[in-house]
Amino acid sequence: MLAYKFDWSVLWRQPYGEWLLGGIWLTLQLGFVAWIIALVLGIFLGTIRVSPWPWLRFLGTLYVEVFRNVPFLVQLFFWFYAGPMLFGREIQFKINAISGLNYYVAIIGLGLYTASRVAEHVRAGFASIGQGQYQAVLSTGMTHLQMYRYVIIPYALRVIIPPLTTEFLTIFKNSSVAMTIGVAETTFVSYKIDNETFHGLEATTGAMAVYLVLGFAVVRLMGFIESRFRIPGLVSR
């Protein structure tokens, strides 16, 4: 075992302490903004996967299969390096000139990726609703659109809160992959501190503590939401 002198002050000493705080702030931003994209797109995709139109179902399934079966790192690199090229040369240069492009790409990429996972949970949520429920709603004279808007989606969303909690936790963990395209979030900062001080062990341990606290906070928050929107009459979990 090498003689290693621990120096935990890299976690608060300036400028490292400030870097770390900035990193945490970026992790929170990535997680929350991408989560909004993932939720909206995921609910949409999950819904069209159970729609009566085969070609819509096919599109939904195609999206989910593609985004679930390609590593997130590869997706992120594709959007960041190849994404701007898809628009042709002129627009490519304009896109590449945007300052903070990696930040936007990370949010969109994370949102698109997580949407595929949310869609799977939403679909499972719909599947858990019995056929009788659908028939009952339609027999009251509601249209298909109204049925989804007022009955099925609000119901399914409540049923899938526990699996969505897991996804919400995962989105913060996955946001760490954004470091590979240079977004200075928590993991990136801990690596950068290692570059400057050679105390990567302390820096990464500190970053682990950050994610643990964040995870704990998310579980608490979702527990509150779950009890707030509990369906009366269902066994609470």
């Binding site: 079966n69 390609v70 590593p71 590869v74 390096y81 090229m85 936790l169 963990k173 992959v177 643990l212």
Partner: protein, 218 residues
């Protein structure tokens, strides 16, 4: 159009082989350690159950990239010399994936009802016969779909060893791309390779899931 891919095919595919090897190590070690973790999680002894639970809960809340970095920093201190990124990555994957496999095994073990065990004993089977002919086959069939799914995730995760400079597929693609500047073709190619392997895997998983459902096992 895909000439940039063609020119560098052997280089890229060698990287893909590294991904497969890393996944192989991670799965072998992760499943073995995962069985111990799963047993520890259902243990009635607090000194076994508590630390194992803590280990699982901590690791499952931390991003894999951070775990890869942590071992990359801690291994040289423990071993006293710099290790090859593959070894360092393999260790982090085993430690990380064992917590996920551990939870799969725990669920599998717990899914077997006590009545079933009692029934097996009442026919005169010994403890080991019960385990060998009743418990293990049933638990294994129940766990198989989740195990395959987790294996696919593990395989996808091997791309993250990129961050400590391991020359796997994605790292090699960035190297080729910096020379060829053919991002669309190159990254599409990586995506397609991963997609094919993972898609086939997910179909196999679904096949066993439906088989289990038909046999009333799930």
């Amino acid at each position: 159009m895909f000439d940039a891919v063609q020119r560098n095919l052997p280089f890229l595919l060698a990287g893909f082989l590294t991904n497969l090897q890393l996944a192989g190590c991670a799965l072998a070690g992760g499943i073995f350690l995962g069985i111990l973790v799963g047993l520890g999680r259902i243990s009635s002894k607090a000194w076994v159950y508590r630390p194992v639970t803590l280990y699982v809960n901590v690791l499952r809340n931390i991003p894999l990239i951070l775990v890869i970095f942590w071992f990359y920093f801690v291994m040289p201190i423990l071993v006293g010399k710099t290790l090859h990124p593959f070894v360092s990555a393999a260790v982090s994957f085993i430690v990380f994936e064992a917590t996920y496999f551990g939870e799969i095994f725990r669920a599998g073990f717990q899914s077997i009802s006590r009545d079933l065990v009692s029934a097996a004993y009442s026919t005169g089977l010994t403890y080991w016969q019960t385990a060998r002919y009743i418990l293990v086959p049933i638990a294994f069939r129940r766990m198989l779909p989740s195990m395959i799914t987790q294996s696919i995730i593990t395989f996808q995760d091997t791309s993250l060893a990129y961050v400590i400079g391991l020359q796997e597929m994605v790292r090699r693609t960035t190297i080729v791309d910096s020379m060829e500047v053919r991002s669309i073709e190159l990254y599409s190619f990586v995506a397609v390779l991963f997609f094919v392997v993972c898609f086939i895997g997910s179909r196999i998983s679904r096949h066993y899931e439906e088989k289990g459902r038909r046999a009333n096992l799930l």
